[in-house]
C-alpha cells in the first residue's frame, strides 16, 4: 500500500509543480461554474420551478456538477493511451506495482486536489451570487449519495481505462476519447445540464449507457427527487455497469498487453 500512497504524493507534487497551468485550469473550472449559475439564474428569473426542478434544486445540481466533475470524472488514466502508443508503457510495466493500482492512485491524486479546489471555488461562487441551494432533509440521503458517488467513481475509472486500452488496437485514441470520453460523457452524464430536461426518447437512449449513473442520478438522489424503488433500480444498474466495466477492462487489458509491441519505447 505504501508504494501506492507514494504514487499519490508524487502525482500531487507533479500537478503542483506547474503552478501556472494548474491555476489556469482551476480558473477555467471556476468560469464554467459561473456560466452555469448565471445561465440558470437568468432562466429562472422570478419563477420558482421549471422542468420539475425548484430553483434551489437546480442550483444544487450546478454545484453538484462542479464537485462531481472533479471527484467522479477527475482522471489521469487518459494518459495511459498515450503511453501505449508511444511505447512508454514499457517503463511503467517493469515497475513493482499493479497497473490498475498505479492508475487508480494517479486518479485519486487528481480527484483529491480537484475536489479541494472545487469546494473553494464553489464557496466563492455561492458568496458572489448569493445562491440558495438544496440540502437533503433526510440524513440517509447523505449516506446514499456517498455510496452512489463511490460506485460511479470506480465505474468511470474503469470506463476511462477501457477507452485508454483501445490504444493497443488503434492509433485514433484521441478521437475515440474525444467522442466517447468527452462529448458523449458530458451530455449523457448530465455534467452540463440535467438530462431529464431533454425529450423523453433521448433520456431513454442515454439510460442505456453507463453515463447517467455517473453524475445525473447521484445528484437526483441528493435532490431527493427519486423514490426508494427507483433508487434500488438505479443502484442495481450502477452495480451492473461497474461489474461489466471491470470484466471488459480485464478482457481488453489481457488481450492488449499480448499485442503490445513497445514501438518507440
Amino acid at each position: 500500500m505504501r508504494k501506492y500512497f507514494r504514487i499519490i504524493v508524487l502525482s500531487l507534487e507533479e500537478t503542483l509543480t506547474y503552478r501556472f497551468n494548474f491555476l489556469i485550469s482551476r480558473f477555467r473550472s471556476f468560469i464554467s461554474t459561473v456560466a452555469l449559475v448565471v445561465f440558470w439564474q437568468a432562466v429562472y428569473g422570478d419563477k420558482l420551478s421549471i422542468l420539475g426542478y425548484d430553483k434551489p434544486q437546480m442550483m444544487a445540481y450546478v454545484i453538484g456538477i462542479a464537485i462531481l466533475k472533479n471527484f467522479v470524472l477527475g482522471t489521469k488514466s487518459a494518459d495511459l493511451a498515450g503511453q501505449i502508443r508511444s511505447g512508454e508503457l514499457s517503463r511503467t510495466l517493469v515497475k513493482p506495482w499493479k497497473m490498475i493500482g498505479y492508475w487508480l492512485s494517479r486518479d485519486l491524486a487528481e480527484k483529491f486536489i480537484g475536489v479541494i479546489f472545487s469546494i473553494l471555488e464553489i464557496f466563492l461562487v455561492v458568496k458572489l451570487f448569493n445562491i440558495a441551494f438544496y440540502l437533503p432533509k433526510e440524513a440517509s440521503t447523505y449516506l446514499l449519495f456517498s455510496v452512489f458517488i463511490l460506485l460511479s467513481t470506480f465505474t468511470y475509472f474503469l470506463v476511462s481505462m477501457i477507452l485508454s486500452v483501445s490504444g493497443f488496437w488503434t492509433e485514433d485514441v484521441w478521437a475515440t476519447r474525444w467522442l466517447f470520453g468527452i462529448i458523449f460523457l458530458e451530455f449523457m452524464s448530465g455534467s452540463l445540464f440535467p438530462i431529464d430536461v431533454l425529450p423523453k426518447t433521448l433520456v431513454t437512449i442515454f439510460n442505456l449507457t453507463p453515463f447517467p449513473y455517473l453524475i445525473f442520478y447521484p445528484i437526483k438522489i441528493w435532490n431527493e427527487q427519486l423514490g426508494s424503488s427507483e433508487i434500488t433500480r438505479i443502484f442495481l444498474i450502477t452495480l451492473f455497469w461497474l461489474f461489466l466495466s471491470w470484466f471488459v477492462y480485464r478482457k481488453l487489458w489481457s488481450q492488449g498487453i499480448k499485442k503490445f509491441g513497445a514501438y518507440g519505447g
Partner: protein
Amino acid sequence: MVSGLAAQSQLLTNRSGILFITGKVVRFVLYFIFLYGVIKSANGLTGFSLDQAVLFFLIFSLVDTLAQFLFRGVYRFRSSVVSGSFDLDLLKPLPALFYPVFGWMDILDAITLVPFIGYMAYFIISHGLAVSLISLAGFILMIINSLLIAFAFHLFICSVCIITLSIDYLTWLYRDLTALGRFPTDIYPNKIRFILTFIVPVTVLMTIPAKALLGMVTGWSLFVYFAFGIVTVYLSLRFWQFALKKYSSASS
C-alpha cells in the same frame, strides 16, 4: 496550397475524421435541443424571445466554428517552437505569422460549416429575424470584426508561446471564455458584463453580431466596434513583432 495540404493530412485517417465530425454534430444538436427546450419552458431569456436566444446560440456556433476552422494552427504551434521547426517556417516566403495561425486549417470544421450555415440562413429567414438589409450588412460587418478579434486572440497566444513556451492552457482558457458568449452576455451581472465587453471582448466577439442582425445595434456603434477590432489586431501584431525578437531558436 497550405490549407490543401493540411486538409489532405487530416483526411488521411478516415476513422478519426468520422469520429470528430460525429462529435461536433452531436454536440451542436444536443445543445440546440437543450436550449430550445429550456428557454421555451421559461418563455424566453432575460428579455430575449426563444427565437432570439436560439439565434445568439447559432451565431456563437458560427463564430466559434469559423475561428476553429481558420486558426487551428495555434494548437500545433508549441510543438513547432519546441522542436525548432518554426525556423523552417520563418524561411518560407510568407509572413512569419502565417504558419502559426493559418498553418493547419481544420477541414473537419469546414465540412460541418456548410450545412450549418444553410440551416442558420433557413432559421433566420423562416423566423423573420433579419430586420432589414442594413441590419444584414451590419451583421456581416460584425462577423468580419469577430474574426479579426479571434485572429488577434490567437496571434496573441502564439506570441506568448514564443516567450514562455506554454500555451496549451491559454488556448483552452480562450475557448472557455468565448463559451460565455453562447448566450447573450446581457444575462451576466454588470461587473462580469463590463469584463466581457472591455477586458475580454466576448460581447463584441459573440453577442454583437447577433444584435446587429436583430437591429439592436446600429449606426455609429457598429463602426466603434469595428474600430475596436482593428485596434485589437494592431496591438496583437505589435506584440507578435515584440515576441519574434525574443525568439531564440533554442531547440533547433
